[in-house]
Structures are given as structure tokens and as C-alpha cells.
């Protein structure tokens, strides 16, 4: 988010749509995410001209073309680096990075890590569909073991990266999760924007051509209450209509699921979600779906000073009281003057 971007001029969803024909496959989860973002922007009240969408390469990275803002579709994996230079050049801009599991965690994993550890003020939307879509269906760094694809006809053997755990491990101060068609997604985006610093959002996205319904086990509307844990600040971590909850096994130091009887979550030892609790956040991002519900919403949110603010502050302090006298600078160092009488210091 950016403090400077709040403006009086109201916008509507239409103001954020471009005249470009959207070129994703019919039924792609990206459409839902695009709509969610376009619906959220008027609500957070930023100005389109102060907003920049920066992307890498991949299906998700076509996103900027469809947002009536400034946009930069860059090269594979490097969007965080472009965003860093752009934000340092103009800290007033509100920057959204759009990336995918291949773009942001494979070819660009290094940049994602450094953007997060530096804590550049921006929103990072990582569309995770567990597949390379634009290159026609190869397995990706988040594909589950055994994924068959053109490049892994006998099934993939390498263990997948976990985006939220990766982000938190890199030092993220904001980690959230949502999925393409979730009605909660705009709220997640709003919270990410409200966070000053690098806000990392993993968005599960359904690639209907190459990895159809891979998230159906938790994203399907039917039975969703039993499989989704929507985290809310200050509220107990309960799901399944309040009949189950997440508690801490204090001896083994890990989370466990407990039954909540008659709504008495306290008696069951259910934890109250505190978005600033980093230890619990580490456990939430590692929670294995199946044994546990899928943790969604704001997993962690505890701001720290941002990179660009510190750079600006240091630049100002270092320049304090000094004049930009280039002619004077040229004359510095080991100098001497040649006169008719010869050289002298």
C-alpha cells in the first residue's frame, strides 16, 4: 500500500478495465482473480495513474494488459527487480507484482526472496496453479510428487515448494492465502494493500487445461466448511461450522485438530488467531492439508520499516548539508595547478 495514494476521486470497476481483449483460456481461474482485483481497487481508493502492475512471464503475467493502470510486462522471473528500481525511483507509486509458481518460485525464486527480505512496499500476488500453463503443461516447482506432465511422463519425483512457507522463511512480514473464486479474495487483497511493506499473497488458481481442479479437495463449495480454515484476527481458529478447531500440542510443539463440543472452543484449547504471532504463523504455513484444513486468509501481518523508506532516509541523511557541486567534485582528490612557473599543489 501507499499512504500517498488515497484520493478523493472515486472509481468504479469499469475504470480499472482496459479495452484489450482478455486472452486467457475460457474458464481459467485468472478471470476470477482479475475481476476480484478490479472490484477491490475502487474500494481501497487508489488512483489508477499511481498504480503500476508489474509482471514476469507466464499466463498470470499477462495481467497488466487488462488493468487500466500503468503496467510493465517484463521478463521471466524478474518482476521483483523491476519493481524495486521503479519503487526506488518513485516511492509514491502503488506497485502490484503479478507472478506465478514457475515465474516467482523457479526462475525468479532468487528475486522473490530478496524482494521479501528487503521488505519493498508492494503487493505480490503469486498465482499458484502447480503447473506451467503457457509452455503447455510441464510440472512446476509447486507440483505435487507424482504429477504426470509432458516433461514428467512417469510422474515428478521432486518435492514441491510451499509458497507461503518460502515467503515467511525469506522474512515476509505479511503472508496471506486465497483462491481464485473465493468471495473472500477481495478482503485478502485489501488487507495486503493496507500492509505497509512487502505483502505476499498466494492465490490458488485453477488451470482448467493442464491441471484442472487440482485444488478441488479444499476449494469445492460442497463441504468447504470442513476443509477451509479462514483465519480472522482475534478470533478462534475454528472450522466445520464451529465443531472443530486448531490447538497447540504444547509438549510436541506442533498444531493439532480438536473437536469443539457445544461451541466451547476455549475448553477445547483452540488458539485465538494473532496475526503478529510469527511462531504460530510458521506452523500455519506448514500445516499439511488433509490432516488439517487449508489455512486461508491473513496468516501473518506485522509490519516493519520498508526498504525504500530506509533508502530514501539514508540518502537524505548522507546528502544533508552537502551541495551538489559537481565542478567542485571534479576538483577533488590529488590535484595540482600548472602555472607559468610550473606545477604546485
Amino acid at each position: 500500500m501507499n499512504e500517498m495514494t488515497t484520493i478523493a476521486r472515486p472509481t468504479t470497476l469499469k475504470d480499472w478495465e482496459t479495452d484489450q481483449e482478455v486472452r486467457w483460456c475460457p474458464g481459467c481461474g485468472d478471470y476470477a482473480i482479475l475481476k476480484a482485483v478490479q472490484r477491490t481497487m475502487p474500494e481501497i481508493g487508489t488512483a489508477p495513474e499511481n498504480t503500476v502492475f508489474v509482471s514476469g512471464i507466464g499466463c498470470s503475467s499477462r495481467f497488466p494488459y487488462y488493468m487500466e493502470t500503468y503496467g510493465f510486462h517484463t521478463i521471466h522471473g524478474r518482476a521483483p527487480a523491476f519493481a524495486t528500481g521503479l519503487k526506488l525511483a518513485n516511492p509514491e507509486l502503488d506497485i502490484w507484482i503479478v507472478t506465478g509458481d514457475g515465474d516467482g518460485l523457479s526462475i525468479g525464486g532468487n528475486h522473490t526472496m530478496h524482494l521479501i527480505r528487503r521488505n519493498l512496499d508492494c503487493q505480490i500476488m503469486l498465482f499458484n496453479n502447480e503447473i506451467y500453463g503457457l509452455t503447455k503443461g510441464q510440472y512446476s516447482p509447486t507440483s505435487r510428487v507424482g504429477t504426470t506432465s509432458p516433461s514428467t511422463p512417469y510422474g515428478s519425483v521432486d518435492r514441491p515448494a510451499q509458497p507461503a512457507a518460502f515467503a515467511l522463511g525469506a522474512g515476509a512480514r505479511f503472508v496471506a492465502r486465497g483462491f481464485d473464486v473465493s468471495k473472500e479474495l477481495p478482503n485478502v487483497l485489501k488487507a495486503a494493500h493496507a500492509h505497509k511493506g512487502a505483502a505476499f499473497i498466494e492465490i490458488f488458481q485453477n488451470c482448467i487445461v493442464y491441471n484442472k481442479d487440482v485444488f478441488e479437495d479444499f476449494a469445492a463449495p460442497k463441504g468447504a466448511e470442513d476443509r477451509q480454515l479462514w483465519l480472522k484476527q482475534g478470533e478462534p481458529m475454528v472450522y466445520a461450522k464451529g465443531t472443530k478447531g486448531i490447538a497447540l500440542d504444547a509438549e510436541a510443539l506442533h498444531l493439532k485438530t480438536v473437536d469443539v463440543v457445544d461451541g466451547d472452543w476455549e475448553a477445547a484449547g483452540v488458539i485465538v488467531h494473532d496475526v503478529t504471532n510469527r511462531s504460530v504463523a510458521h506452523m500455519l504455513v506448514e500445516m499439511r492439508f488433509g490432516e488439517f484444513p487449508m489455512a486461508l486468509g491473513i496468516l501473518y501481518d506485522d509490519p516493519r520499516p520498508t526498504f525504500e523508506a530506509d533508502v530514501v532516509r539514508q540518502n537524505k541523511a548522507a546528502a544533508e548539508g552537502k551541495k551538489a557541486d559537481l565542478q567542485g567534485l571534479l576538483k577533488k582528490g590529488q590535484t595540482w595547478t600548472v602555472t607559468e612557473g610550473g606545477p604546485e599543489l
Binding site: 482496459t18 484489450q20 488512483a47 495513474e49 499511481n50 503500476v52 512471464i57 497488466p64 494488459y65 488493468m67 487500466e68 493502470t69 500503468y70 503496467g71 510493465f72 510486462h73 517484463t74 521478463i75 524478474r78 521483483p80 527487480a81 523491476f82 524495486t84 528500481g85 521503479l86 519503487k87 526506488l88 525511483a89 518513485n90 509514491e92 507509486l93 532468487n110 528475486h111 530478496h114 533508502v311 539514508q314 540518502n315 537524505k316 548522507a318 546528502a319 552537502k322 551541495k323 551538489a324 559537481l326 565542478q327 567534485l329 571534479l330 576538483k331 577533488k332 582528490g333 590529488q334 590535484t335 595540482w336 595547478t337 600548472v338 607559468e340 610550473g342 606545477p343 604546485e344 599543489l345
Partner: protein, 621 residues
């Protein structure tokens, strides 16, 4: 280099120590030879000599003491007339240990003087330098004059009153040596004394010990003069135009030129860099210049360095990145994006020996193909090459000018030799430089806003994000003419490829001049970059002997000056000395169908004047 207003070099020098002298200080990496050389350089400047230097140090940070690969050397050529190179063969070699002697003595001129610290020629050091016998004793140095001094002991004696430990006392050896060198060339010690006192202001004992060592070395020269080969020699000042001078390295020249370019274009500068030898010095210089509206960013890798710079250019800053060959290779894809999105950017390549890691601390000019051709697709990009530290200042400004006026990335080539070498530089008057302020597009122009519309130079408008009413998207996918929308149509790609090429081909650069000699004749020696010095001096000497030879030195490698083809065709023969296997030669043959012949050297060392002279003689034979 060549600040002297009048050239007095006239063919072969009669006496080895006459109007110009070459001194080489060589020692272990820890002996402080670069510092000694730097201070001797200042003293040469104050004596009014013209000079050029060549620091030659190992890639290892702290190579094991006494080893052959741990030798660090600094060569200076100073004289009373124009000096173009750091000199071919040294007249004087100061060898602080056996390894320094072994690696450097082969280059010493026959009859030249060796000053050796015999205190370091013990069994252990001789073994490390792989000497079977002590060369100071076995007569193997007979073709040179040898002065053996126990510099270690003499230094220890001189600094004894200051109660330093053995190790600290021995660190003063380089000042003792410098003191002796100052006496040899009749130099004033006071500026060095002042410098030492300032340097060790917080440790007065160290200051006093170093001054004592300096004085002792000087006094040794005075008293020992009559005994042996040591003679005092005075080199007259070179006739130099009055004005303010300073020493300037190439890295300083680039950094200052970039700042000047940013000021002339009225832009803040953003510099994205990643540590790499020998380019890091530019990042170091710029990171201290915050008050000049310079933001420096040490990125996580070379790719992030250039991408952040492009991001900053997109945001309205002057984006700059810098590296050496291996890092430039990593930046290739991003350069293509800057070409496609038509954003200004300056990419500095401080070339070093390649391929791969190659020779990180040695010089080479082998990235010319990479600069001109090294990207995927038809991706034309201007290339400017600096010939010397002072010229690097001018070239940096030129690179910025082209980048912002034509909305294009520009490659600025320098090399390890220019980056580290120092030369006297007449401080320019900035008011004499014409400003080229950038005008961003801030409102919808008449006829509507076209992100890929063009001005008379074929440059597209530069719009800063944050500007109302000019919202648009850019990216690496082929752009539609004018609108900049994604467009894969065959005709559109042809049109855009043609436009990108025409824009770069149409860049206005100054006509090529002949540096020395005449337009037309028997032979042109065509160079670029840091070979300027040896080519210039060699052509001057050959002309003094009556040879019909001219020197042409190309700054604009791409696009080439409009008159260059005709100019080259006005000579019977063209030779192209390069520190590579013939890269500019290939470009010239391709562009002009001239029979340019290569003269190549890829030893990690600059050309000597003699090598170029032989090439000229051979071509004219």
C-alpha cells in the same frame, strides 16, 4: 596521458634515462606496491611530468606470501614530453622479494637497474619463487645493473625509535623504497610527508615511523650515490597548458561522467550494480554521491541489477548498470527488453580477459561482439568505447545523451586497464558542456496519445507512471506501431524491426577524425578503446622516421561514424590492433568491405609501443 601540449618524442630514445623513464614497483600483495605507485604518481604530477600508469595485481585477495602468483606490481611512465602509455620495458625495477624479481625482471630493459631487497632473499622465499640459487649472488642478472639493499633491515633500523612491533615496522618498507625513488628522481618529499601525517592522523606513531622510513630511504640515496649504480636523474617538466589538473582513473572518469550526464539531462540517477572485478569501483564511487541525486542499489545478482535500472528508467530516472563480461552476459535478456520497451539505459562494461571467468584482473577488449551483436533477435544497440580515463568522462556523457535522446539502452565499453590506470586530467569546465534536458510527456498531445508514436529521431515519448491520462502498458511482446498494444501480425513485426534498426542507424555521431597523420595514404592503424596510447606513440615514432602511416581511433563502435567507410578506403592498407582475436576488424570488413588486417594480442597485458611499431613496419614492408 598526453596532456603535454607539444610532442617532443622523436623516434628512438638515445639514452635509457632521458626524457622519459619507466619505473616498475613489484612486491608481495601485502607490500603496499599500489600505494607506493600511487604516491609516486602524485609526485610525478607535482614535478610537472606527463605520465601514465599501469597497476597489475593478482586476482587473489591475500595470495600466500612470497608466491609467484601473489606478486603485485605498479608501473609508471613519466616524462618531459607527451606520454601515451605506461611504457614498454621498465628502466628501473624495484623488487621487494624473489617472486617479484622472477615475474618482472624479464621485461626489464637490458642495462636497466634492479633495486632488490636482499633481506627478503632468504631460502624460504627463494624456494617459494622456485629459484634453485639466489639470483642476487649467482650472476644470472648480469645483463642488468643490480643494487642489492637490505631494505627490510634498513627500514627496521629507521623506525626503531617508534617502538613498533616487527610486523608493523616492516610495513614501512614501502615508504623507505618510495623515499629512495623520490631521491632518484629529484623529487620533493614534503607532499608525501603531509599525506602520511593526514593518513595516520589518528596514529601519530605510525605517521612518524612512516615519515622516518621515507626520510631514511631518501637519505640512503644521497649518501650511497657515489658507490654504485645508483644515480640521481632529473626529468624536466613536460610543457603543459596552465590549468587545474588531477589524477583520474577510468572508474572515476566513468562515475563522474555519469553524474555529469545525469545533471546535463536534468535527471536523477539510479545505479543498479552487483560486485564484480574490475567494475565494482564504479559502484563504490557513485554510492558516496548521494547529494547528486544518485541512488545506488547493490542487487542480488547481475540480472536484478539491470532489471532494477530499467525499472527506475521506467519510473523517470536515468537507469545505469555496470559489470564485466560474465555479468554482461547475464544481463543480455534484459537489454533486449530495454530495446523492445525503448527505455533509456546505460550499461557499462569494464572488459576483462575472457571467456567465462577468464582473467578477472587482467585487461582485454574481447567483448566487442557481445556489445554489438550479443542479444537474441534483431536487437540493435549503440556502443561507445572509451580510450582513456579522461575520455571515459566524455564517453559517459555521450552514452547518457544518446540513451535519453533516442530512448535506447547504450553500451559503454571500457576495460580493466582504463578502469585502474591513472592519468593526469585537466579538470574540465562544466559550463562548456551543452545541456540536453529531458522533457517527459505530461499531457495528451494533439492527435491523441500514442505510447509508441515517434519524434523526428524516431524516439518514443517518455511518460512517468503517476501521470494522469497517459496510462499505458509496455512489455517485451512485440508492440503494435504507434499504439504499443500486443501485436503478432507479420507486417507489424517487419515494421517494428525496421523502425528499431532505423532509429539506431540514424543516431547522429561526430564524423571520424584522423588522430595523427593524414586522410588517405599508405597505411591506417585503426584502434578503439585502451589501445590508444601504444598506437598513438607507435604511429608518432614511425612518422618521425618518415613512414606514411596514420592513426584512426573509433569512439562510436555502433553506429559507426558516417564518414568512416570512405575514410578507410582512402588508405592502401588498414591494420587493426586489438586485445582480442580480431573483433573490430570483422565489423569493419563487414560494414565496408575493406581489407582490414588484424593485429592481435590476448595476453592480459596491454600492447607495447614496440609491438605496434613492428606491425606498422611489417604492413609497410
Amino acid at each position: 596521458m598526453a596532456t603535454a601540449v607539444e610532442d617532443r618524442a622523436d623516434g628512438e630514445r638515445q639514452s635509457p634515462l632521458s626524457d622519459a623513464v619507466v619505473v616498475r614497483f613489484a612486491g608481495d600483495s601485502g607490500d603496499g606496491m599500489q600505494l607506493t605507485g600511487g604516491q609516486f604518481t602524485l609526485s610525478s604530477a607535482l614535478a610537472g611530468n606527463d605520465f601514465a600508469t599501469f597497476p597489475d595485481f593478482p586476482a587473489e585477495i591475500r595470495a600466500p606470501q612470497g608466491t609467484l602468483f601473489g606478486v603485485s606490481a605498479f608501473q609508471i611512465n613519466f616524462g618531459s614530453s607527451a606520454i601515451d602509455t605506461a611504457g614498454d620495458a621498465p628502466d628501473v625495477l624495484v623488487a621487494m622479494n624473489p617472486a617479484a624479481l622472477k615475474t618482472n625482471v624479464p621485461q626489464l630493459k637490458p642495462g636497466g637497474l634492479i633495486i632488490a631487497d636482499e633481506g627478503e632473499f632468504n631460502d624460504r622465499n627463494l624456494a617459494k619463487a622456485k629459484y634453485d640459487a639466489n639470483p642476487l649472488e649467482d650472476g644470472s642478472l648480469a645483463k642488468w645493473q643490480l643494487l642489492k639493499l637490505n631494505i627490510s633491515q634498513l627500514t627496521m633500523d629507521a623506525v626503531k625509535p617508534f617502538g613498533l612491533g616487527n610486523k608493523e615496522a616492516l610495513r614501512c618498507k614501502n615508504m623507505w623504497t618510495l623515499g629512495l625513488a623520490l631521491w632518484m628522481f629529484d623529487r620533493d618529499r614534503q607532499p608525501l610527508v603531509d599525506w602520511l601525517n593526514a593518513k595516520f592522523a589518528k596514529a601519530p606513531d605510525l605517521a612518524a615511523a612512516n615519515v622516518a622510513a621515507l626520510n631514511a630511504g631518501h637519505a640512503y640515496g644521497e649518501t650511497a650515490e657515489l658507490a654504485g649504480p645508483l644515480k640521481q636523474h632529473h626529468v624536466d617538466p613536460a610543457p603543459v597548458a596552465p590549468g587545474l589538473y588531477r589524477t583520474l582513473t577510468g572508474a572515476e572518469g566513468i562515475a563522474l561522467g555519469l553524474v555529469a550526464g545525469a545533471q546535463l539531462s536534468k535527471l536523477p540517477m539510479f545505479f543498479g550494480g552487483y560486485p564484480i572485478t574490475p567494475a565494482s569501483a564504479i559502484l563504490h564511487h557513485l554510492s558516496r554521491l548521494k547529494e547528486y541525486d544518485v541512488t545506488t542499489f547493490q542487487a542480488e545478482d547481475e540480472i536484478a541489477a539491470i532489471c532494477s535500472a530499467i525499472g527506475a528508467s521506467y519510473g523517470g530516472s536515468l537507469g545505469v548498470t555496470s559489470s564485466s563480461g560474465p555479468g554482461i552476459a547475464l544481463k543480455g535478456e534484459a537489454m533486449g527488453l530495454a530495446i523492445m520497451t525503448e527505455l533509456p539505459l546505460v550499461i557499462v562494461n569494464s572488459q576483462r580477459g575472457g571467456p567465462s571467468t577468464g582473467l578477472p584482473t587482467k585487461t582485454e577488449q574481447s567483448d566487442l561482439y557481445q556489445a554489438v551483436y550479443g542479444r537474441n533477435g534483431d536487437a540493435p544497440m549503440p556502443v561507445v568505447a572509451a580510450r582513456s580515463p579522461g575520455d571515459a568522462f566524455e564517453c559517459a556523457i555521450e552514452a547518457v545523451r544518446i540513451a535519453v535522446q533516442y530512448m535506447t539502452p547504450v553500451m559503454l565499453l571500457t576495460d580493466g586497464y582504463i578502469a585502474n590506470a591513472a592519468e593526469p586530467w585537466a579538470v574540465p569546465d562544466l559550463t562548456t558542456y551543452e545541456a540536453f534536458p529531458v522533457e517527459f510527456l505530461t499531457e495528451v498531445p494533439e492527435g491523441g496519445f500514442k505510447p509508441y508514436g515517434r519524434d523526428e529521431k524516431l524516439a518514443r515519448p517518455w511518460v512517468k507512471p503517476g501521470t494522469p491520462d497517459l496510462l499505458h502498458r509496455i512489455g517485451g511482446i512485440e508492440k503494435e506501431v504507434d499504439t504499443g498494444h500486443i501485436n503478432y501480425a507479420p507486417g507489424n513485426h517487419q515494421a517494428m524491426t525496421d523502425i528499431r534498426k532505423a532509429k539506431i542507424d540514424g543516431i547522429k555521431v561526430l564524423d571520424q577524425v584522423v588522430e595523427l597523420g593524414a586522410e588517405g595514404g599508405k597505411l591506417a592503424v585503426v584502434g578503439w578503446g585502451s589501445t590508444f596510447g601504444p598506437i598513438h606513440q607507435a604511429v608518432r615514432r614511425q612518422r618521425a622516421q618518415g613512414a606514411d602511416v596514420s592513426h584512426i581511433h573509433i569512439r562510436h563502435i555502433w553506429p559507426l561514424p558516417a564518414n568512416l567507410g570512405e575514410l578507410l578506403k582512402s588508405y592502401d592498407k588498414v591494420i587493426v590492433p586489438e586485445m582480442n582475436t580480431g573483433q573490430l576488424k570483422t565489423v569493419l570488413r563487414d560494414q565496408y568491405l575493406v581489407d582490414a588486417k588484424p593485429v592481435n594480442k590476448v595476453s592480459g597485458q596491454p600492447f607495447t609501443i614496440a609491438e605496434i611499431e613492428s606491425a606498422i613496419e611489417e604492413a609497410l614492408a
